[in-house]
Structure formats: C-alpha cells, structure tokens
C-alpha cells in the first residue's frame, strides 16, 4: 500500500509485485511465516 499514491500514474508498480520488508527475526521464522501466508493465499 505504500505505493497506492502512484496508482494509475506513470510510476504505478506492477500488480504482480510482492515486496517484502525483511527484518532481523530468525530466518527460519520468516520462512515459516511466508509458507503460512502463501498457503492462505491459495486456499
């Protein structure tokens, strides 16, 4: 949503883009979160 302000403008980002802001958590936990999110998105 950070780029909602450029929707329908020349700077609009691809609708197929997924941006991850990756923090300093344990990488295993980040991966588990991604797995969970992907599973939910296709269920």
């Amino acid at each position: 949503m950070t780029h909602a302000s450029v929707a329908d403008s020349p700077l609009a980002v691809p609708a197929s883009l997924v941006r991850l802001s990756v923090g300093i958590e344990a990488a295993d936990d980040l991966q588990a979160d991604l797995e969970s999110a992907f599973a939910a998105s296709v269920s």
Partner: protein, 334 residues
C-alpha cells in the same frame, strides 16, 4: 573515540554524542525546552534561542547523520517527506525536476500533485539510461535538480550515482540521492558526487517502527544555509524525543543491517510451488558474481560498499509467475 576512527560501526555508536561537559552523560539529553534564556538582548548561549530554530537534541542527531554520510552538515525533519519538501524549496517556479521513474510513491505524489501546482515540472525517466539523462540535460529547459533513488523502492533499480551527478554538475543542476534503502552503512552518495543525501529515518535508521523522521546531509555550505533557512521558516522539525529515538536506532544500524542483509536473500531464495515465486526482477540483469547475486556489487566503481558480506538487500521485491501469466490467478497482493 568517534573522532579517532573511520570505522562505520564505531562511528554509528558514538557520532553526535560527546559526553556532557557537566555531568559526563554519554547520551545526549532530550532537551524539551522551547525557549532558551538569553544573557542579554540577542546574546544567545551556544546559539540556542527557540526550539524550532535549534535544539540541542536535534543538533546531536544532525551531527550524527553528517558524520555517517561523510558530510559537513546534517538537517533533521519531522518526516522523510518533510525533508523532501525542504529540498524542493531549493527550486523556483518554472524550474524542471528530473526524477527516477521508480521512486517512493510519496515523493512522486509531492512532486506531481503539489509542486506542479507551484510551477515546477517533474519528468520521470529511467535514470539507469545515461543517454536519456544526458538528453534531458541537453534540452532547452534542462532540469535544475535530479532526484535519484537507489536502490529504488520498490523495484530495486540501481542507478549510477557518479555518472548522473557528473551530467548534472555540468548542467549546473543539484543531485539528490534518496538513500533510505541503503543507509550509510551500505552507501554514501556524497562520496560519489551527490550534492545532497536524504533519508526517511523512519525506516532503517530509526529501525524500530516507533518514530517518523527525515534526515538530509551535504558538504555544501551554500545548500546547507538555504536548507537551514527553510527548515526554520517552514518549521517541519522533529520533536526532541523523536530525535533521541532516531539517534538511538542509529547506534545499532550496523548490526541490524548485517542481519537484515542476510535474511533478505534467504527469504528471496525461498520458493513455494503454490505461488511459483521467481527471482527479484533486478537480479536477472545484475550479472553479479557475488554469492548473494546482489545488484549492489554490479556497480563496479563501488556505488555501494560491497565486500561480499555487505550490499545484499534486506528488502526483496518478487514477481509472482502465476500473477504475471494469468489475470485470474488466485495470488493477490496489494
């Protein structure tokens, strides 16, 4: 200690923080006073008069970002966009602004929806195309400022700061680099010829999702004087507590960036058949030999500091193959 080293990690811990001469406190105090007693009419103590014009906690933060960016002047603002707004005050009605075609949405909104109304035209092009940049500066009304965001948000384009800054300098234009995503830990744009470097301190510099802030650094006395005037005149200054929080975050920037940089590629490399996530778009053209395949190291002249352990991105844009190949894909992201 900070004055005796050029090691970033040490500078980040100590920059802007000289022990208090009275108490020995090693952390700058949060000075909330809005008004400072004068010893006589116009006789200011240490230059302080009114909190918007100058505040000790803010000055500590401003010195800290100046140190980390190899600059001589630092300026702090209430948000990254407040900092952006202040830089645009350097332009006059009728001036043109050249901008990356992949900048933070708020930057584009400010230029396109606000400053255009005040007579400043913004042209957005792919600043990786140096022929296009040269053509822009050769136009009848060349831009007075070029706004680089590298790595860009969200597509992670890497722009050659030195090359663009050289073209701008020949045309007498100001080069600005929004270095929010790199932070001074990975990239110091002033070392590559930029006139001004800007940060949304809300992101990695603050680092704890608990403060909004903006920072600017420069080596130009002239630009610093103009910005200082507008910082006070327009008044978008951060609170002393916000300054404390940003500075506190900056102390640990190096270790946080190390972890974020190692977590980023690992998360990007993770794939799942359900969504067929493929590589970040910019990696395919990076032609980088480093283990992280990072586009940062593509800039052979060292646009970003890169030694194999640094320069990997902590923020990873992906494209979903399923979403690209089918509009009816069940994969959605906003």
């Amino acid at each position: 200690m900070a004055g005796m080293t050029d090691k970033f990690e040490t500078l980040a811990v100590h920059a802007g923080a000289e022990p208090d001469p009275h108490t020995g406190a090693v952390v700058p105090a949060i000075q909330m006073s809005t008004t400072f007693k004068q010893d006589g009419v116009g006789e200011l103590r240490s230059g302080f008069e009114y909190g918007r014009s100058g505040n000790p906690t803010r000055i500590a933060l401003e010195q800290a970002i100046a140190t980390l960016e190899n600059a001589t002047h630092g300026l702090a603002y209430a948000s990254g966009l407040a900092a952006t707004q202040n830089l645009l005050y350097l332009l006059e009605p009728g001036d043109r602004l050249l901008m990356s075609d992949d900048v933070y949405g708020g930057t584009w909104r400010l230029a396109d929806k606000v400053w255009r109304r005040y007579g400043i035209e913004t042209d957005a092009i792919d600043l990786r195309d140096l022929d296009a940049v040269a053509a822009a500066f050769a136009a009848d009304r060349p831009p007075k400022m070029v706004w680089i965001e590298t790595p860009s948000n969200p597509l992670m384009k890497i722009i050659d700061i030195s090359a663009v800054a050289r073209l701008a300098a020949v045309a007498g234009a100001i080069t600005v680099v929004d270095s929010t995503f790199a932070t001074p830990y990975l990239q110091r744009p002033l070392d590559f010829g930029a006139d001004l470097v800007l940060h949304s301190a809300t992101k990695y510099l603050g680092g704890h999702s608990d403060v909004i802030g903006g920072l600017v650094a420069t080596r130009s006395d002239d630009l610093a004087e103009k910005l200082r005037f507008h910082q006070n005149a327009a008044g978008a200054v951060p609170s002393p507590f916000d300054c404390f929080l940003v500075m506190r975050g900056m102390r640990t920037l190096a270790v946080r960036m190390e972890r974020a940089c190692s977590n980023g590629p690992r998360s990007s490399a993770f794939t799942t058949p359900a969504c067929r996530i493929i590589r970040p778009p910019s990696w395919s053209s990076a032609r980088c030999g480093c283990p992280a395949r990072c586009s940062a190291s593509r800039s052979a002249a060292g646009r970003m500091r890169h030694d194999g352990s640094r320069g990997r991105r902590a923020c990873s844009p992906w494209r979903s193959r399923s979403a690209r190949s089918s509009r009816s894909s069940s994969f959605r992201h906003r």
